[in-house]
Amino acid sequence: APHDLRRPFKRAAISDQQRRRELSLQRQAQHRRDAQHQARCLASFLNPHSEPEPEPEPEDSPKELDVRHASKLKGAEARKWFARQLMLPEWMIDVPDQLPQDWYVFARPAGKRCFVVSSNGTTADQTYYVIDMVCWREYSLYDCTAEFRFFWLSSKLAETGACDPPSQYHRYRFSPVPVYNCDQAGLSAAYTGAVPYVKDGLLFYNKYDLFFCSVDNAGNAPLALVWKDENCSQYVIDTDSKGQVPSQQQVVLELQDNGNLSTSDDPPVVFGCLDQAFIEQAESRSGNLLRFAIGDGGLSFVDGKLEKADLHYLGKSNRARAFADSYSKVMFQYMARHSPLRIDDLLASINSLSDQENKPSDVEMVG
């Protein structure tokens, strides 16, 4: 039979009841996706060559692993979380082996490193030069190699339009930096090539590192390294708060319970010790960051290990500081003042490697 002619009259196309239903379905679908993504973010323990990893420490609970949760943190809690997530590069005080095989290099943009959390494409009028990414919508990149992260970064950033000029959705412009293989050509390009930002040294990334472990468990080679000289940085030697290069190198160390003065490394490197009377006089407490100058006595080494440091107390450090200096930073600054690692040393290391490759390898006789 013919259909009813009546059409909705003076009625909205969708009833509110229908809307409630649909919004619920949307909410559920969204939460299902979130749960799925969270599951995918959790690293797979599956590794046929070894037993399952031991349970992570309580502080590494999945909630803390999750950038999307962390983005809701506020204030001090947030600063602490994000500071932990930032990969702090070590300073290059030795040239690593296998530079051309295992490393990327790029010109490090001057400026502060920061952690940008973007939600639904909106961030909170300048340009960010993006040097790494730890999580992208779908899943965490923490457990991905730098190789994958760089590939991901360059393809994702372009897609989102984040590289476009600022708009009402993102006041900041994001720009990826050109990354090179650390062979001779790559190193030269990063060192001398023109970039649209102010260069502040070179950053070396091990291709196979995971973001979380910039130093692997055995305490071996650090996997991100920064290096600079006068040609690629205006700030080779640290300046003081007034922008002047002080006559003596300054270091910031953390005061420990036992009076030890240590670096931010894990485990910390001890540079000296304060006695109780001095601590009281300086109104310092354990955990305080204290500023020292390195006197003419300098640093002394025995078998490559720090033996003695000639430290002179200057005062408490700026409250904005979150960490003491790292050992490699102190060492890099010390070397910069005394016997810097030069670009030629890096190039020479690459060349010697390629020379080695050209040599016929030894044949082990079994006959």
Partner: protein, 942 residues
């Protein structure tokens, strides 16, 4: 597929996992429940009717046998008694009929057919006999319908032959009612038999010597043909028969047919036969002929014939839109004349023709984004645009023919309403072009003393607000807004005020919001607008309801205000108060005013910001108190109870919106959780009512509460569980079942592994749901997704359900992998099914990740990969399925790792499908693909 069928009684939660049950999947009646001929049964019944009667009856007591025989003789009296005014007599007769049917179905059906065909019997008993016969062949409910079909097919063929002979004979009866009833029964039998290639002689015997038949028989024959076309799908009828049917029908419609009853029956038959006429409409000559006859019939002196002919035109406009170009000019003239001069039933059809053309063109233009490309199915012919200069004046004319009380009458439908609705569709079809044609009418009439003119002008303005560009409309709205606000306050006519409030709502719906560059609501006028709307909410119910509607869209326009600040904030308290006052009006039951007030309250809450969170919070105890009162009400009449249930639905809906709003922000969630216990207690009490709507709303609210509460929700589970189970068992109100399935997902995510103690029961119920052929098919895909939710929540504890869930998933996957030749609806359903299956796999794989039991999933990996491969080969999955499917590939690799490495590498999915997804235009697909690529590379690198 697992074939053993176990229909469970009640399986208690604790021993499900020990029972060795196999579940049969029942997804698609059309796919899995194939109707089979039953040779065994047929041969068993291969005896004459009388012989049969005796054989079967021997097993029964002599008195029962006597009953049956007596019944057959007295059937006329029983059928008359069944229509008696005296309830006792009626009840007794109904009981007799029921017994007769149960004791001896073939004899019963044959008696009825005999009664129907016997011209010596009273027409009342014949009609009822036919009706009972019809109901023995068909039912509304799908499950019952399949049973009846099966029952008819397995009847003794000789009985069926005799019944059919009786039915065909009845078509020649002088009694119109008997003929008409027989027509319907014949169509029902045809509906069952033709698809099974039975009764092949039906069409031939109906059409043989149709020209020689007397008028009444021809009329009944044509009517029967029409019903058959309505009942049977076109592919069950050979083209040769289609040609014969159409020829007979169109000849019967011809103006040369002098018998009006025959002509009417033929015209109505054509309406149903149009779907069969694809081939004939592609033939120019045949199409011309059909169109000519239809158009001529619109000019018949007989009103019912004209109306039926226009109904044909309406059907043709949607079925054969692309064939209309040569006729559209003539049709316009015919429709214009009918709209102007003809009786209302005919004029309404004539307007409907243009509404239907608009529907078609809106769909086409929407689908092709305005530019027609060569490979599109149907081009847009822009009939509406071409007819615009004459069509619009014709429609505007109708607006002045309002009925006095149409706004108070829910079921009203008249030419003014139809014309206004059509004008709105025209505006959506042509956009800007409609505006200059309508504006002069508005300007001329809007200030006239006659309310009809003012109302018509206002309605015209309201109806063109959707379609034309904001650039075109905003300047007009800026001028009109003030006028409308004044009219809403001061016009003496309720009808005008109703339409004015509606028009304001349309302004806010389409021209107010963050997407529009120039706001029509500003700091300067918002105060006045809100004052007028709140004032108007005190007007008569129909006007107040429209004012609530306008406020709804006013609030909606600010939904993007975010968490910062909304222009509504200063008025928030006042608005909420006014809406609550409306809900308490004595007359709030009229014109769905109370519903509108709560719906507006919902939208105001949804679009509120952090600034007003504390006021939203204060609403909770208020709404809870209202809900509490409805639950306390005693001794209600059934009418009052129904109203009470409706109100409970609205209140639960409102609480749901509030929970969802406050639950989404960390701070407000913390504060509102103080009410969680009380809210939950109220929701549980709502389940005591028998109203499906109230259940649905309460269930939705509980889902929102579970999400907001998180793991603490576990404390409600002991009490809530039985209602959850009840919801999952509600096949009849499948919406409730569907929503409950969704809530299970919410609870899984809230409780995670704390849901474990309830999983046996839930899984049992979900498996039963999947096996049921009574449950609406739309609920089945979400059930699969729910498997995934459960697996993700309980991880390796899902182990014990694998033996049930996996075969179900596997057979569903097989069914859904290949569906060649399905229509759009079927494809859409199949894709939602695939998505559900894939979400289940995804959840199961991820749930087992990192467990020592991942090897349990290994046996299923080949099948899952095969499913992905076949989906890829079929090339008919939508983007959502692609995304989920490629994600499953990643999940499989992620969880099974190197164990599945070689399997993965052998699959087409890991190569062609993956690389296709990696270069997809859809970034969600690409992301899933990149995840899969990463997971695969990890899996195969070891």
């Amino acid at each position: 597929m697992i074939t053993a069928i176990i229909i469970l009684g009640r399986t208690t939660a604790t021993h499900t996992h020990t029972a060795t049950l196999h579940w049969r999947l029942c997804l698609l009646p059309t796919l899995s429940a194939r109707v089979s001929d039953s040779p065994l049964l047929s041969s068993f019944f291969f005896v004459s009717l009388i012989g049969f009667l005796i054989t079967r009856s021997l097993a029964r007591s002599p008195s029962q046998l006597a009953n049956s025989i007596q019944m057959a003789m007295e059937v006329t009296q029983v059928l008359l008694n069944a229509q008696a005014v005296d309830g006792t007599v009626r009840k007794q007769a109904e009981e007799n009929l029921k017994q007769f049917q149960e004791q001896n179905l073939p004899s019963f059906l044959f008696s009825l057919a005999g009664e129907l065909s016997n011209d010596d019997k009273p027409v009342e008993s014949r009609k009822l006999a036919g009706l009972i016969l019809k109901n023995a062949l068909d039912a509304k409910e799908q499950h019952r319908k399949l049973e009846l079909v099966q029952r008819w097919l397995s009847l003794d063929p000789s009985v069926k032959t005799q019944i059919k002979a009786c039915l065909l004979k009845t078509l020649s009866s002088p009694a119109l009612d008997a003929r008409s009833t027989a027509s319907q029964v014949i169509a029902k039998v045809a509906g069952i038999e033709l698809p099974h290639k039975q009764w092949p002689e039906l069409i031939g015997s109906l059409l043989s010597n149709i020209h020689q038949l007397p008028g009444n028989t021809r009329q009944a024959t044509l009517e029967t043909l029409g019903y058959i076309c309505e009942e049977v799908s076109p592919d069950a009828v050979e083209q040769d028969h289609v040609n014969k049917i159409l020829t007979a029908v169109v000849q019967g419609m011809n103006s040369s047919e002098s018998n009006n009853d025959v002509r009417l029956a033929a015209t109505r038959a054509l309406y149903n036969a149009l779907g069969f006429a694809q081939a004939n409409f592609s033939n120019d000559m045949e199409r011309d002929y059909i169109m000519r006859v239809v158009c001529e019939a619109t000019l018949s002196p007989e009103l019912r014939i004209r109306q039926a002919a226009f109904e044909c035109l309406v059907a043709i406009s949607s079925t054969y839109y692309e064939k209309l170009a040569p006729y559209i000019h003539d049709i316009f003239n015919i429709t214009a004349k009918a709209v102007k001069e003809d009786d209302e039933p005919v004029a309404l059809q004539a307007i409907e023709f243009w509404s239907s053309i608009c529907d078609e063109e809106i769909d086409i233009l929407e689908e092709y984004g305005g530019d027609f490309t060569g490979d599109s199915d149907v081009p847009c012919f822009y009939f509406v645009k071409q007819a615009l200069p004459v069509l619009v004046p014709m429609l505007l004319e109708t607006l002045l023919k309002q009925d006095e009380d149409q706004d108070q009458d829910e079921g009203a439908w008249n030419i003014a309403m139809a014309g206004g609705t059509c004008l709105g569709l025209v505006a959506r079809t042509v956009g800007d072009d409609v505006v200059p044609l309508v504006m002069p009418f508005i300007e001329e009439n809007i200030t006239k003393p006659d309310w009809r003119q003012r109302e018509a002008a206002t309605y015209a303005f309201g109806s063109i607000l959707e379609g034309p560009s904001p650039d075109k409309l905003i300047p007009l709205v800026n001028i009109a807004l003030n006028f409308m606000l004044t009219a809403l306050m001061n016009d003496p006519n309720n009808h005008v005020k109703d339409t004015t409030a509606w028009t304001l709502g349309r302004m806010f719906e389409f021209l107010h919001g963050s997407a529009l560059e120039t706001p029509i609501i500003t700091q300067a006028n918002i105060q006045q607008i809100i004052n007028v709307l709140l004032q108007s909410m005190k007007d008569v119910p129909n006007v107040a309801e429209k004012a609530c509607g306008a406020l709804y869209f006013l609030a909606q326009g600010y939904e993007d205000a975010g968490s910062s600040s909304s222009p509504l904030t200063p008025f928030f308290q006042e608005i909420v108060q006014a809406l609550l006052t409306v809900t308490h009006r004595e007359d709030a039951g009229e014109s769905r005013l109370r519903t509108a007030a709560y719906e507006t309250l919902n939208e105001v809450v949804r679009c509120s910001t952090d600034e007003t969170a504390s006021m939203v919070l204060q609403l909770i105890p208020v709404i809870m108190m209202e809900l509490h009162q409805t639950l306390e009400a005693q001794k209600l009449s059934s009418d009052e109870r129904e109203k009470q249930n409706e109100l409970q639905g609205l209140l639960c809906g409102c609480l749901q919106v509030i929970i969802q709003k406050l639950g989404s922000s960390e701070q407000s969630r913390y504060v509102f959780m103080q009410y969680a216990d009380q809210m939950m207690a109220l929701f549980l009490r709502v389940f005591a009512s028998r109203s499906a709507t109230a259940h649905e709303e309460a269930m939705l609210a509980i889902g929102a509460l579970a999400y907001a509460t998180g793991a603490d929700f576990v404390k409600y589970m002991p009490e809530f569980y039985r209602y959850l189970e009840m919801g999952l068992q509600n096949f009849e109100d499948y919406q409730v079942c569907a929503i409950t399935v969704g809530v299970v997902g919410d609870i899984c995510r809230a409780l995670e592994d704390k849901i474990l103690p309830y999983c046996d029961g839930i899984m049992t119920q979900l498996l039963k749901d999947l096996s049921s052929n009574q449950l609406h098919r739309s609920v089945k895909p979400p059930i699969f997704s729910c498997f995934g939710d459960i697996a993700l929540a309980i991880g390796e504890n899902f182990e014990k359900y694998l033996i049930y869930a996996m075969p179900m998933l596997q057979s569903a996957a097989e069914l859904s992998a290949h569906i060649s030749g399905a229509d759009d609806d079927m494809l859409e359903y199949t894709n939602s099914l695939r998505n559900g299956i894939l979400e289940a796999y995804s959840g199961i794989f991820q749930g087992f990740k990192g467990s020592s039991k991942t090897q349990l999933l290994m046996p299923f990996a080949p099948h899952v990969l095969q499913f992905l491969d076949s989906l890829y080969m079929e090339k008919d999955m939508d983007d959502a399925v692609s995304k989920t499917a490629i994600g499953v590939l990643g999940d499989l690799a992620d969880t099974l790792g190197s164990n599945a490495g070689s399997l993965i590498q052998q699959s087409v999915s890991s190569k062609d499908f993956l690389s296709e997804c990696l270069s997809s235009d859809d970034h969600l697909i690409r992301e899933s693909a990149e995840w899969a690529k990463l997971a695969i590379s990890r899996a195969i690198s070891f």
